[in-house]
């Protein structure tokens, strides 16, 4: 998998400057430990209309995706952004 990832990213490398945000320090600051990231299935099924009708927030296909409360986007735990709020540092909202 790592090998495959390496070659694919080498191949598409020339487009990487168009990535949304800088990847600097992203590994230390992914959505997984951000206070804005909500991935509780209850919350997702309440917030996304129709999800529990012909789908489910508890299915494997969702993996660990959640909603970013900051930007109102669906993200995986591995996303990152500049306005990341680490849980343990969570103070008053900016």
């Amino acid at each position: 998998m790592r090998m495959m990832s390496f070659f694919i990213h080498r191949w598409i490398g020339r487009g990487s400057e168009r990535q949304a945000v800088s990847s600097q320090n992203h590994q230390a600051a992914s959505c997984a430990d951000c206070r804005h990231f909500l991935n509780d299935p209850h919350i997702l099924e309440q917030e996304i209309a129709g999800l529990s009708s012909l789908g489910s927030a508890r299915a494997s296909v969702r993996a660990d995706d959640g909603v970013c409360a900051r930007y109102d986007r669906l993200t995986t735990r591995r996303f990152w952004c500049r306005e990341h709020f680490v849980l343990q540092d969570a103070g008053p909202e900016a």
């Binding site: 990487s16 529990s52 508890r58 296909v61 996303f79």
Partner: protein, 470 residues
């Protein structure tokens, strides 16, 4: 205050926003795995009982065929103990599974009592010898009863904890694996993958480019595209997460899929019946052109139930379900991880920037793999292994009635729970989320999908779908 969820109060008791369900934890925190545990548990139990010369038939009770109301009452009362035992079995096993998934047993128990009572009623209606004359097919009746209860009477939302559409359909799919020989999966699987791939790619491209033509954002267009091309709501939520789609767009994509999926539950079997399509061919077409597993099984089972009751329809009811399952599950569902990885790659390297970013990871292919498919394959392997030394005549005479028939009956129950739950959780007032432009773009894809699926199923690959036999 930031916009979005945090700006509103999330009304969930004790939310655990950062709980991981990856790795080993997935084995008890994802419904796919619980479908495997329960489905394969039943298949294993059936194999063990068969080896001891007994059967699961006692607990797999179903209403018998009837022509007078008195016959029906007599049948249900004389088997009341068996129905109570079956109800207790479902209640206990589902309670354990759904509690592990984070749902509340105090919500599930009353919901399931309601679900079982109506399912028994719907099952009994389907066993009436005049049912097909009045189009009273259990999947369609279940859907209509559910829609009426949720939209005309209105049920409290907490009851949804018992109306788990995906959970029930996945258990049914694992049990369905027990009726499908592994050799048949190996023989017809590649054809299913080829046909499904042609239609999926064409449908995705049509919806994506139609959406772009309507001025819709690329991430939203991709979410809509896979919703129509791959596995409906499941695909929409997976791809939206992979590409970082907006929450509101995801809701719109999902409601658009639901609207068309409900329409297709009625439309596809109706058109197939008017054209007297072969059972296997109709199953392949429904598998190519329905948008969600649960909705597709409702349509396929409705058509399969007509075989032998309506003149002009050749084949067997099994062929409809087999062709549908091969096409939908093997041909479309299992590829969702690859769609997610490729689109995540494209989104992060080729599309316009968004506020958040990530690096596409090939491990997503496994993370998003619909694991219940493993249970489906293992169930097929188990039954194939147990019956490996039997001739077809021995299988039909000795093994099928005691080994496979109870599993088929239990599968029928889980499908009825599923079909009823679709209606009970579909609230029309929530479907107003579907916007005009996304709906139009998706509808163009529907036209292409249905037409292409029809041509491939009835012309190009028809001979394969007509010859699906054990």
């Amino acid at each position: 205050m930031p916009k979005g969820l945090a700006a509103r109060e999330v009304t969930v008791e004790e939310p655990s926003p950062l709980r991981s369900t990856s790795g080993w934890r997935e084995l008890w925190l994802k419904e796919d795995w619980w479908a495997i545990w329960l489905g394969l548990g039943l298949v294993l139990a059936s194999c063990l009982f068969y080896a001891q010369g007994v059967s699961l038939k006692w607990i797999a009770v179903t209403p018998a065929r009837w022509s007078t109301f008195e016959q029906l009452i007599n049948d249900v009362t004389s088997n009341s103990t068996r129905y109570l035992a079956q109800f207790g079995f479902w209640l206990v096993t589902f309670s354990v599974a759904l509690s592990a998934l984070g749902l509340k047993a105090r919500h599930f128990v009353p919901a399931f009592c309601l679900l079982y009572a109506f399912s028994l009623l719907i099952f009994a209606i389907g066993q009436w010898d005049q049912a097909s004359r009045y189009n009273l097919e259990p999947p369609l009746v279940a859907l209509l009863v559910g829609l009426a209860l949720s939209n005309l009477i209105g049920l409290p939302r907490w009851l949804d904890d018992g109306f788990r559409v995906e959970f029930y359909v996945k258990i049914g799919i694992v049990l369905l694996g027990a009726t499908l020989p592994i050799a048949l999966i190996a023989w017809a699987g590649p054809i299913a993958i080829l046909q499904a791939s042609i239609v999926s790619v064409a449908t995705y491209l049509v919806i994506f480019w139609s959406s772009r033509w309507f001025g819709i954002d690329r991430r939203f267009a991709a979410t809509l595209g896979v919703g129509g091309a791959v596995c409906g709501v499941s695909a929409a939520i997976a791809i939206s997460g992979a590409v970082g789609g907006r929450k509101q767009d995801t809701s719109i994509a999902i409601t658009t899929v639901i609207v068309w999926a409900i329409v297709m539950i009625f439309a596809l079997p109706f058109v197939a019946r008017e054209l007297s399509l072969h059972a296997g061919v109709a199953g392949a077409w429904i598998g190519t052109s329905e948008f969600a597993d649960a909705a597709g099984f409702a349509a396929a089972q409705a058509y399969g139930n007509l075989v032998g009751k309506v003149s002009g329809i050749d084949g067997t009811s099994d062929q409809t379900l087999w062709a549908f399952t091969l096409m939908k599950v093997v041909g479309r569902d299992v590829w969702i991880g690859i769609w997610a990885f490729v689109l995540a790659l494209v989104a992060t390297t080729r599309w316009e920037a968004s506020e958040t970013g990530h690096k596409a990871d090939p491990a997503e292919i496994w993370r998003r793999f619909p694991k219940f498919v493993l249970g489906f394959v293992v169930a097929s392997l188990l039954i194939t292994f147990v019956t490996r030394d039997l001739t077809l005549a021995e299988y039909n005479g000795a093994a099928a009635p005691v080994l496979v028939a109870p599993l088929k009956d239990l599968r029928t129950w889980t499908f009825i729970f599923c079909f009823l739950s679709i209606g009970l959780t579909t609230r029309f007032k929530e479907l107003i989320y579907a916007g005009v432009r996304p709906f139009a773009a998706f509808s163009i894809g529907v036209v292409v999908n249905v037409a292409l699926g029809f041509i491939l199923s009835t012309v190009l690959f028809a001979s394969y779908w007509q010859s699906l036999t054990r």
